[in-house]
Symmetry: C2
Subunit: 360 residues, 2 copies
């Protein structure tokens, strides 16, 4: 794993904690941290509040009270069970924030508030939790959202893999925005904001102990700015946006084809894939179309707005490698067809299960 992710040392001053005494030198999670008593409060006070700092959270009520701008609300939730918790390019904490931010953003919403629910394993090092929580705080600030309420449960040693995180998010959809999978129609152009399969292969390279000339980093990133640029550039011509996570771009395209009852044609030569990712996929027999991303946006746009949206994507650092990768057709509804590198067509079937478990 790259140095910057794994060796970074989180300094915590434990001198004013009531940690169980034998654990003072290397404090770990105990069952009581999930009990709603003093140990729970301490975790909140010393660890969550400083990392997530905002006034709403500091109120510490049973619920956070917020005053959102008027408009339709978007509501989303995701639980993260990725293994390992720390991987090249990110942590489960970055994923947990960006994952929900992105689900809101591709719905056309401006992400505003997140909730955070932790399931911790007894014995989990508190310094690891602190690193994760600090990454959540930093990711939230980068995406312009506040983590306003939370909950922590602890399960016995041997359960729960250290740390699971659920985030739910609230965003506001501006009145003029009206997008959704069922609005996609034939002739729409399909754009992807950059290289695919980076996140999935970053995780797999760690799990399989693969070494490549250049490290494969997760693309985990918040898409709210990029989504806003796409909506601004394409306005009513933007019919749908998606962030292709687990299941990859392939699952997303199948979903859209099903929801809109359209066919989809993908130009395989136009799919942006990093050489190292391509090599890793070949080695493991995986199709990058079905490998997870955590910071890529797919947009379905009427042809007259395609160039403007492409330019808007490329104007943002997260969209510098954006490509038009295919189009929507009236033929073969619900079916995904690829124009291959060798000029033939192949049907890309829907995946039954998943290629890579525990990827997010």
């Amino acid at each position: 794993m790259p140095e910057e992710t794994m060796s970074e040392d989180t300094k915590i001053d434990f001198s004013n904690w009531t940690c169980p005494l034998p654990l003072q030198d290397y404090p770990t999670i105990v069952m009581g941290h999930g009990g709603g008593g003093k140990l729970s409060s301490e975790l909140v006070e010393h660890l969550f509040l400083p990392a997530f700092r905002n006034e709403t959270l500091a109120g510490l009520g049973d619920a956070a009270v917020i005053q959102p701008p008027a408009g339709r609300l978007a509501l989303s939730t995701d639980t993260f069970v990725v293994q390992p918790l720390f991987f090249p390019g990110g942590t489960i904490g970055d994923l947990a924030v960006n994952g929900t931010v992105n689900d809101l953003a591709v719905s056309g919403a401006r992400p505003l508030y997140l909730t955070a629910g932790f399931v911790l394993e007894e014995g989990f090092p508190i310094t690891d939790l602190a690193r994760i929580v600090q990454r959540m705080g930093a990711s939230a600030r980068a995406a312009g959202v506040q983590i306003v309420t939370g909950d922590t449960k602890v399960v016995e040693r041997g359960h729960g893999d250290g740390c699971y995180i659920n985030t739910a998010g609230v965003g506001v959809i501006p009145d003029h925005v009206n997008i959704g999978p069922s609005l996609v129609r034939p002739e729409d152009v399909i754009l992807v904001s950059g290289t695919i399969a980076d996140h999935g292969m970053a995780i797999m390279s760690v799990r399989e102990g693969l070494e490549f000339d250049s490290a494969i980093l997760s693309d985990c990133a918040p898409l709210n700015e990029l989504a806003a640029l796409v909506l601004e550039a394409g306005s009513q011509h933007v019919h749908a946006m998606r962030d292709p996570t687990r299941g990859g771009l392939g699952a997303t395209l199948h979903e859209i084809a099903g929801a809109a009852k359209v066919g989809i044609v993908v130009e395989e030569t136009q799919l942006p894939v990093r050489p190292a990712v391509h090599a890793a996929c070949e080695l493991l027999g995986l199709d990058p179309m079905f490998v997870a991303n955590e910071g890529k946006l797919a947009a379905f746009v009427a042809p007259e707005a395609a160039d403007a949206v492409l330019a808007a994507m490329r104007s943002h650092k997260l969209g510098a490698e954006a490509q038009i990768i295919g189009r929507v057709v009236a033929e073969h509804p619900r079916m995904l067809v690829a124009h291959t590198r060798i000029g033939s067509n192949r049907v890309i079937p829907e995946q039954i299960g998943e290629q890579l478990p525990r990827i997010c």
Copy 2:
């Protein structure tokens, strides 16, 4: 476990599922159910949608789009890891819905929308999941909320204890409602809506295999109607409400004493405790003050409104056994003192960890 909870048989027609073939007769969760592919969709289509039925969820976007009434929003989250998943008087599904409904209700909000995030263990029987999910749907309808979006992850066999559920909730706080722990002040009267420690002892009686003359049932219930009645009867005299869950009434009173910098005096003889629960607590050496409830409301009310609020509580079936159990004092700030049955005073210290792990 009582018949009505455990022997109820959930009938599911698996004939139109694409379940892995060897599992057709006794289908269980496989890793692919968390993969975002066809198996995931199937779980949503055959299991979640019918149980939670509402139009917003049926849209199946990355986020649910809702149009709440104007006003401040309350936002809350809770993850449920209770063991066992099915217990006398309820299931983890009832808990997951009512827990978040109650956190919103005691914040003064009208609960409106929930999200649901599942972490399932590979091998978990789909019929068990169906029972849980159907209980969630029924509880949501009973509480007048909609489960509008969700997420499912699967972890390998041996992790995750079958099923963990996170719910996050959104409610709206009417403009005239202004309550919170820090608004509690000396002379406030403390009311509790009924018997304490039922939920915790229901769980413990199953875990410890205890048999009593009468079964101890969880009090798991939605408090939104009761909370609304309290607010209506007490109006601006209601200073705070809480639902004392893990950590019990004791933890709640300590929290309020800390937040409002006040002392609290509890009349031990006024604490409503069922005889069977009292006996079970004695047997296990537990103080009912620190045993979890899942359907009890504690209200902190100015003295002039105490009788009206008590009457309002008792007018509702969930508040029939409501009692005034203590008062707020200016003396001994942040300290909880009990007037005991024998006429003495004792200080009730804050619990460090918890008496009963995995209670919710």
